[in-house]
């Protein structure tokens, strides 16, 4: 496959996933806003990596400004509408590698959202809007899964999706790392834990796996080390490693630094212990993980996109 096409497919996977992740993050902030802990609007900015751009533009955090910045603002490349536009632009460049279902699903998402005005997503309309964003991305992922030829094109989309998801889970956890300190307990904390789990579609999963009341250490374990949860760090990184291996197998075993690094990260998660992670401080550990994930993204691009 053309390197440029692989690049577009990889970023197609990343941008669609990012749109849904921003929606998930905003949903958490909106839910917690009702509980009087207004700082969550700020946290979601940090989690999505949008804080510097936001502060430069708005200076002060208000719910409306955060929602506008993360949903509509064309100056924010990680905003939901920007993500759809970037995903579509990437898709357009590899139109031939996509199925009609994927393309028309994405094209329609873009057409639906691109002219969204504040009255479509501010205030009471926000949750419904965010649900639609998540639904459109689920539709796209489903179309990719159900209709795409199992070739390299499919694998690069999967690679982008899995890597972006790994990055997102680590960021969501990091935003709430102080709430996950062992021993903390209270109404506010409880609501926070629920919100974190919901943001990665894992509240039900928690109950199914642990069958116990919410506990910060278990939440961290679920989101970091449990392979059953599709958005856990270990699940996402295992998928990245698996996909990289499949690409390598299709090319007669051609491998590079990205394969080594991905394997190393996955092994550290697969065989890691929660007590070790918590011992040095969750925040420090997550900061390192986010850094290594970014490093992995760079290594993938270097090997398959620039080095081709």
């Amino acid at each position: 496959m053309l390197s440029r096409a692989a690049d577009s497919l990889f970023w197609l996977g990343r941008y669609t996933e990012r749109a849904a992740n921003v929606a998930r993050g905003l949903n958490v902030a909106w839910r917690l806003d009702g509980l009087g802990t207004g700082e969550d609007w700020h946290r979601i900015l940090v989690a999505s990596g949008c804080e510097p751009g936001f502060m430069e533009k708005h200076g002060k955090v208000t719910p409306e400004a955060v929602v506008d910045f993360l949903v509509r603002d064309p100056d924010n490349p990680s905003g939901i509408l920007s993500c759809f536009a970037a995903a579509r632009s990437n898709a357009r460049q590899v139109r031939t590698a996509l199925t009609v279902d994927m393309w028309s699903g994405l094209n329609e998402s873009w057409a639906q959202f691109r002219n969204s005005a504040p009255e479509d997503f501010q205030g009471e309309r926000l949750p419904e809007f965010l649900d639609r964003v998540r639904e459109r991305v689920l539709l796209f992922n489903g179309a990719a899964q159900d209709t795409m030829l199992r070739g390299e094109a499919f694998l690069f989309v999967q690679l982008g999706t899995a890597l972006e998801r790994a990055d997102n889970t680590a960021r969501i956890l990091d935003v709430k790392h102080d709430m996950l300190k062992p021993g903390s307990n209270g109404t506010v904390e409880f609501a926070q834990w629920q919100a974190i789990l919901q943001s990665v579609s894992a509240l039900r999963a928690y109950h199914w796996i642990f069958r116990e009341r919410l506990d910060p250490a278990r939440i961290a374990e679920l989101l970091i080390l449990r392979p059953e949860l599709p958005r856990s760090l270990v699940a996402c990184h295992s998928r990245v490693t698996e996909v990289l291996e499949m690409i390598a197998a299709g090319q007669g075993g051609r491998r590079g630094e990205c394969h080594r690094l991905s394997g190393e990260i996955t092994a550290s998660l697969r065989y890691g212990k929660l007590s070790d992670i918590l011992e040095g401080g969750l925040h420090d550990w997550l900061t390192r993980m986010i850094g290594r994930t970014a490093q992995l993204g760079g290594a993938i691009e270097e090997f398959y996109i620039q080095g081709g």
Partner: protein, 493 residues
């Protein structure tokens, strides 16, 4: 233009080919047609068949308006056209081989030497070089107009990078979805094999060393190009890569594309980039779209380009009047398709005629396309005509003139009513060393504004599906697919 030939016929005297279409139009209420038109637009938007118009404000991604009423040609009409098209394109290819080779037609004095050798479209880089397979214009689009039952004229030849074939294919797909029953009442020659035929044509152009399964790629200027959708569509249908200049690199006169598995050799490039931008080392130095070293690789015989560089000399408007002579000269045959009578303003006699008949003529730039910079005499104001007269006197060789033809009309859905609108036809002609192939049909463009003769999409034109009808209507009773017998049993009991 009240005298224009209506292809469907007037009143009860419908042409045989349109009998079913006329019946369908008479039996279908206008609201239903309008609903189908809306459905068609939804289909096109959904698939994303758009073209880009920049610099006019508004949404740059436009749909070419699609008219749901098909344009119908009888098989006998088509066969005559196809013979004429094949003859014309064979002559054009022979002309290209000649002017870049022995120049016999110039030495014989049949075409003025200066008109060719001093033409901007003539590429000295191609002199003395024979492309693999000996073909120059592998894919040609010939624009035809009609003025009467048997009167077809070639309006212009497009020998460089003709576009529009994706509309021919997508229009048919849309019609099949919208009007399956109308199709079942006709026997319509399919167009869907075009991509296969194109791929075979391109493979046949490959250098010999590439073997039986050459690697083909489509070279596009990129997604800002107005025909980008078509480039991707064709690549998809043929199962080949669509590449941009930056995806290709040339090493030791061999062309490679950059892939995730490392460089891969390319044998045939179907390029949809103009000559000027193909290779900054050979043509325009400031081109960012092309591939440095591509022409050297081409001339070393390591890669084929379709169409060959330099084809523009064959479709130049100043050369056009000589195409009938080319046919006689190279093929020893009389032209089967007529040219529109053309006056070359650089000839004194012609210019005098043009200047005194501007109110009857269409004046065009000898080089240029897209319907910009033309004068349609009968529709122009006095000032416009005087302006053009001055321009012609200043630069006579830049202009040609033709009589305004009463282009034929086809019923078209305009607003809520069906009304006649002028059309042209662009069939696509594929050439290899031994074969000329034409998929029956082509792209019908329709001037949607009442009375307008300009069919270009950039000037408010639309498109139609073009049907070539085989003689006998098909029997409606195709064998039905099986269904569970119990449901049928319950109903009949």
């Amino acid at each position: 233009m009240g005298s224009a030939f209506n292809e469907m016929g007037e009143g009860p005297d419908h042409s045989a080919a349109y009998a079913e279409v006329a019946r369908w139009l008479a039996a279908t209420p206008p609201e239903e047609l309008a609903a189908k038109r809306a459905e068609a637009e939804y289909l096109f938007r959904k698939v994303g068949i758009t073209f880009a118009v920049y610099g006019e404000g508004g949404d740059p991604e436009r749909l070419i308006p699609f008219d749901i009423i098909p344009r119908v040609l009888a098989r006998a009409e088509w066969d005559r056209l196809a013979q004429g098209l094949s003859q014309r394109v064979r002559a054009l290819n022979a002309f290209l081989a000649d002017v870049y080779g022995a120049r016999e037609i110039l030495r014989a004095g049949r075409i003025p030497e200066n008109l060719v050798l001093r033409n901007e479209q003539f590429r000295p880089e191609m002199e003395g070089f024979a492309p693999p397979g000996g073909v120059y214009t592998h894919i040609a689009g010939i624009d035809l107009v009609r003025t009467g039952p048997d009167d077809f004229y070639v309006l212009e030849d497009n020998c460089r990078t003709p576009s529009g074939v994706s509309y021919m294919l997508e229009n048919r797909e849309a019609m099949l979805r919208l009007f399956p029953r109308l199709f079942s009442r006709h026997r319509i020659a399919p167009v869907s094999r075009y991509p296969e035929e194109l791929l075979e044509t391109l493979k046949a152009a490959a250098p010999e060393r590439a073997g039986p399964d050459p690697t083909v790629a489509i070279l596009t200027p990129g997604h800002f190009n107005s025909a980008y959708y078509e480039h991707c569509f064709l690549a998809d249908e043929m199962g080949v890569e669509v590449v941009e200049g930056a995806d290709l690199c040339v090493e030791n006169d061999v062309v490679h594309m950059r892939t995730t598995a490392g460089p891969r050799r390319v044998d045939v490039i179907y390029r949809r980039i103009d000559d000027d931008y193909l290779d900054p080392r050979a043509f325009r130095r400031d081109s960012m779209l092309g591939v440095p070293g591509l022409i050297a690789a081409y001339k070393a015989g390591n890669v084929a380009l379709a169409n060959a560089p330099g084809c523009g000399i064959a479709d130049d408007k100043a050369i056009y009047p000589y195409v009938p002579d080319m046919i006689r000269f190279y093929l020893g045959e009389e032209p089967r398709l007529a040219n529109v009578p053309t006056y070359l303003c650089e000839r004194d006699e012609d210019r005098a005629y043009v200047l005194s008949h501007l109110d009857e003529l269409v004046v065009k730039l000898a080089q240029g396309s897209g319907g910009y910079g033309m004068l349609i005499g009968p529709h122009a104001t006095r000032e416009q005509r005087e302006d053009f007269a001055a321009r012609i006197r200043a630069n006579p060789s830049h202009y040609i003139a033709q009589p305004t033809l009463a282009l034929s009309t086809v019923p078209t859905l305009c607003g809520d009513a069906v009304a006649p609108r002028h059309v042209d036809l662009r069939p696509f002609v594929l050439s290899t060393r031994d074969h000329v192939r034409i998929v029956p049909g082509g792209l019908t463009r329709v001037a949607l504004r009442e009375g307008s003769l300009v069919v270009n999409s950039s000037q408010g034109g639309g498109t139609k599906d073009t049907w070539v009808l085989d003689e006998e209507a098909s029997s409606p009773g195709q064998s039905q697919s099986q269904s569970q017998s119990q449901s049928q049993g319950y109903i009949s009991c």
